[in-house]
């Protein structure tokens, strides 16, 4: 079953912050985050493993709460280059990576 991402779309001005949430109905072992720019392949951002850790990647960070089966991606002081579609992928007990439906992020000057 696919994880559910929210919001489906978000529009920001440069410098604003955003949070993208990813929620699953099943127990998770890890969460992946990818970004896909228009017309390009999805690119890996980070993986979060069980343990509730928070990871960072430039001004993009994420948290993973395995008890709530949720992950959140935090984009701080957004830049034009952050525009794209963000996908979370969740890994459950069978080890298979299942992607969410994506969140479209648009950053305007």
């Amino acid at each position: 079953q696919q994880p559910v991402q929210s919001p489906q779309a978000v529009i920001l001005r440069e410098g604003e912050d955003a949070v993208i949430n990813c929620s699953s109905s099943k127990a998770l072992y890890s969460v992946h985050w990818y970004r896909q720019k228009h017309g390009e392949a999805p690119v890996f951002l980070m993986i979060l493993l069980k343990g509730g850790e928070q990871k960072g990647h430039e001004k993009i960070s994420a948290s993973f709460n395995e008890k709530k089966q949720q992950s959140s991606l935090y984009l701080t002081a957004s830049q034009l280059s952050y525009s794209g579609t963000y996908f979370c992928g969740t890994v459950g007990s069978y080890g298979k990576l299942t992607f969410g439906q994506g969140t479209i992020l648009t950053v305007h000057p």
């Binding site: 489906q8 890890s30 999805p42 993986i47 069978y94 080890g95 298979k96 990576l97 992607f99």
Partner: protein
């Protein structure tokens, strides 16, 4: 620099045709994957392979088959293309030697093939 390549960026086929989509990776990865991407549905796994000649069904395998005769190459086959298979097809690979999908290994994606079936 890691690379996953797909044989075509755009493909137009007629209903009922047999369609082959090819994917090649140069990273010596064990695992390879085929996804389709549709607006509002995200990336959905069609098939994956964890070794040569080995394959497993993903979430939406109906109407598709795959072939992996060599480690670096993974082919997706549409036996008889239908209009509802019009989509963007993405290939990916990962080095995770364990479970399919990789609990702690990133996937590397190809640029995608936009297939239109008329």
């Amino acid at each position: 620099d890691v690379k996953v390549t797909q044989s075509s960026r755009y493909l137009v086929k007629r209903t009922g045709e047999k369609v082959f989509l090819e994917c090649v990776q140069d990273m010596d990865h064990e695992n390879m994957f085929w996804y389709r991407q549709d607006p509002g549905l995200g990336l959905r796994l069609i098939y994956f392979s964890y070794d040569v000649k080995m394959k497993e069904k993903g979430d939406i395998p109906e109407g598709y088959s795959v072939s992996r005769e060599k480690k670096e190459r993974f082919s997706l086959i549409l036996e008889s293309a239908s209009t509802n298979q019009t989509s963007m097809y993405l290939c990916a690979s990962s080095s995770d030697p364990g479970l399919a999908g990789g609990s702690s290994y990133e996937q590397y994606f190809g640029p995608g093939t936009r297939l239109t079936v008329t």
